[in-house]
């Protein structure tokens, strides 16, 4: 189906945008941004729409140091030369002027050994065979399955083992290149317990959209939104091409987002609304600092949830929050680009976005079968919050166990910290039927055929976007987990 969209900034492609859900009534509410389906979005984290081809212009050439030129010329081995040539070609495609040294620790999205990843495994093994490693130990996204806590059904295990047929090969490759151990496999590698939180201003070549978004925004580090594979070559080289979100110019905000809700917004929905509007541009967000106070253990979880949603409903690689995030504290509204646009988000828009997230269950009125909470992975404070909420409400109702499994997604290290500080609460949570898992809901809910038997709910806009799970607010998830029913007011 094709439809004409009459909104600002649309180009000719909009005439041919295909609606996502097949339900026009639903889709017209999803068309909040200039590019509601990402058809014009390049995914780089900043728009390249203004770049035109000039055949007479000289091809961009990076200035290399002598050491870099030597690597390029093969003086430090043929394989490292190929790494350098690939990274330079990547940078020159985006007009990068130079390479910059990387700091902190790398993070990669390369979590699963599916057949598609085989060429990357081969290439990175070629690097390892040549004695190459990443410039520092690195963290990785969550392992794709957890046979202890989630996929306990043998049929699910077999299907996942078949889907991830080269998982062992991938993991061996990671070990050879300098990956940290399994405890450090988490999409939220920046939590203090996991410890991969680079300092303000550190240049990075990370992949995983939510981690790049958090590192750029909350930590003030500098990374582009790299595709899985190319980021590893940068990290083996210890250098990345300098363009896009690594530059001062690329970090300017093209949107001023004024949040004017009457109370604290749902952070995932707010992020979704922002992402749909700005797509891949940088937003400068005002009006939410009063709900955050400062960057601490509690507000970090809110920023993580909001940011991940901007990166999934849009392709935001960096956002600024007035008075909160490091770049905004340093520079304030000087970060707004010339001719920036303004978008006001109020309670009506938040509700509009939330209510029109589609119900993609294969049986629309099915009863929920399980809940996934924490995508990206929960923080210590989020685990505590959920533990207290669920156990208190069970106690109030005189109920011993939750009605459907509640999977709290988190790094093993965050769970260990939580167990250390609150052992009795953890005991009560486990007795109540809550599980902790360091895996990823996207893979479980991607098992072939699973949509016919599983009707998952989630508080994560990211999990909602990439699976057929249904999104609910935290308070609704709590009721669903306790009763096994979807409350009327939640829909």
């Amino acid at each position: 189906m094709e439809k004409e969209l009459k909104m600002e900034n649309l180009t000719i492609y909009a005439k041919n945008i295909t609606i996502l859900t097949g339900d026009e009534e639903l889709d017209k509410h999803l068309e909040i941004g200039a590019d509601p389906h990402g058809a014009m979005c390049t995914g780089t984290g900043h728009s390249r729409a203004d770049v035109k081809h000039d055949p007479s212009a000289p091809k961009p050439k990076m200035k290399l140091t002598q050491e870099e030129q030597d690597i390029y010329d093969g003086k430090k081995g043929e394989v490292l030369s190929k790494v350098m040539k690939t990274v330079i070609a990547y940078g020159e495609a985006f007009g990068a002027s130079k390479l910059v040294d990387l700091g902190g620790n790398p993070h990669t999205v390369l979590l699963g050994g599916t057949p598609a990843v085989t060429p990357v495994i081969d290439i990175l093994n070629e690097c390892a065979d040549a004695g190459l490693k990443t410039y520092a130990e690195y963290t990785i996204n969550p392992r794709p399955y957890d046979f202890y806590n989630v996929e306990v059904d043998p049929e699910h295990q077999l299907k996942l083992q078949s889907m991830f047929s080269t998982q062992t090969e991938l993991e061996k490759m990671h070990v050879r290149l300098g990956a940290k151990n399994y405890n450090y496999w988490s999409c939220a590698c920046y939590w203090p317990e996991v410890g991969n939180a680079p300092a303000h201003g550190t240049n990075l070549a990370w992949s995983e959209s939510s981690a790049v978004n958090y590192a750029n925004s909350v930590l003030g580090a500098r990374s582009n939104r790299n595709s899985g594979g190319i980021e590893m070559l940068c990290n083996i080289l210890g250098k990345a091409p300098y363009f896009g979100l690594m530059t001062d110019e690329g970090r300017k905000a093209k949107w001023l987002i004024e949040v004017k809700t009457k109370g604290e917004p749902n952070w995932s929905v707010l992020g979704g609304a922002i992402g749909m509007k700005v797509m891949e541009d940088v937003p400068y967000i005002v009006g939410i600092d009063k709900y955050l106070g400062q960057v601490d253990g509690i507000s970090m979880g809110k920023l993580k949830d909001m940011g991940a949603a901007t990166a999934t409903n849009g392709a935001v690689g960096l956002y600024h929050v007035e008075n909160i995030t490091p770049d905004a504290i340093d520079e304030g509204r000087k970060l707004l680009a010339k001719d920036y646009k303004t978008y006001v988000i109020d309670d009506e828009i938040i509700e509009q976005v939330r209510k029109h997230y589609p119900n993609l269950w294969t049986q629309k009125d099915a009863k929920p079968t399980r809940a996934f909470v924490g995508c990206p992975h929960n923080s210590f404070h989020q685990l505590y919050d959920w533990g207290m909420k669920v156990t208190h409400e069970l106690s109030n109702r005189g109920q011993e166990r939750v009605a459907i499994p509640l999977h709290l997604l988190c790094s093993t290290l965050v769970k260990d910290h939580f167990m250390d500080k609150h052992p009795e609460l953890v005991r009560d949570m486990i007795r109540a039927g809550i599980t902790f898992t360091n895996s990823c809901p996207l893979t479980f809910l991607g098992i072939p055929g699973i949509t016919k038997t599983e009707f998952a709910v989630t508080n994560s806009n990211k999990a909602r976007e990439y699976t057929n799970s249904r999104f609910f607010r935290d308070e609704d998830i709590l009721e669903i987990v306790l009763s096994g029913e979807i409350p009327e007011e939640a829909v």
């Binding site: 189906m1 094709e2 180009t11 000719i12 492609y13 005439k15 041919n16 945008i17 295909t18 996502l20 389906h37 990402g38 058809a39 014009m40 979005c41 390049t42 995914g43 780089t44 984290g45 390249r48 729409a49 770049v51 035109k52 081809h53 055949p55 190929k82 040539k85 690939t86 070609a89 990547y90 495609a93 985006f94 999205v109 390369l110 599916t114 057949p115 598609a116 990843v117 085989t118 060429p119 990357v120 290439i123 070629e126 889907m163 992949s207 995983e208 959209s209 582009n224 939104r225 790299n226 595709s227 899985g228 594979g229 190319i230 980021e231 070559l233 896009g244 991607g446 072939p448 990439y466």
Partner: protein, 149 residues
């Protein structure tokens, strides 16, 4: 039909003639090749992205793809490498817009590491996608010139 000529930026240059396959929306790489990279299909590259009415269910093996850019998951780059290894990749990707960071990583790694060139030209301009239709004869030159008709 009258010939029309467009001049783009040859990132991975090459010469090819054939028929165009056009996507007017961003090509979601993972969704497009799901059957190959997850489903185990190795003899065809049938597009599995139901949102892409231009390409859905078309065999993209060896296609000369005309598209705005790719979109979707950061797996996009290595998905292209995966279908290249299966011998099912497009022969050329002709981008109307600036190439995206998802596709380019995979296209460059396939070229440099797998010796598998998918001819890549970008910045052909929005008029290019207005002009080209699926099935049109198309001629791509080394210098980034694309002739339709």
């Amino acid at each position: 039909m009258a010939k029309r000529t467009f001049k783009g930026r040859p990132i991975l240059p090459g010469k090819i003639e054939g028929l165009a396959t056009v996507s007017h929306i961003g090509l979601n790489t993972l969704s497009t090749y799901k059957a190959n990279v997850i489903g185990g299909v190795t003899d065809k590259a049938l597009c599995t992205d139901g949102d892409n009415k231009d390409l859905y269910n078309k065999d993209l093996n060896g296609a000369i793809l005309c598209l705005p850019q790719t979109i979707g998951s950061t797996t996009g780059g290595f998905v292209l490498m995966g279908v290249a290894k299966m011998g099912l990749a497009p022969k050329a990707m002709l981008f109307a817009n600036h190439v995206d960071s998802l596709a380019i990583g995979g296209l460059l790694m396939a070229d440099i590491w797998m010796d598998y060139r998918i001819i890549t030209i970008d910045l052909l301009g929005p008029d290019f996608l207005e002009a080209v239709k699926t099935g049109d004869p198309i001629n791509v030159s080394e210098d980034g010139t694309v002739e339709i008709g």
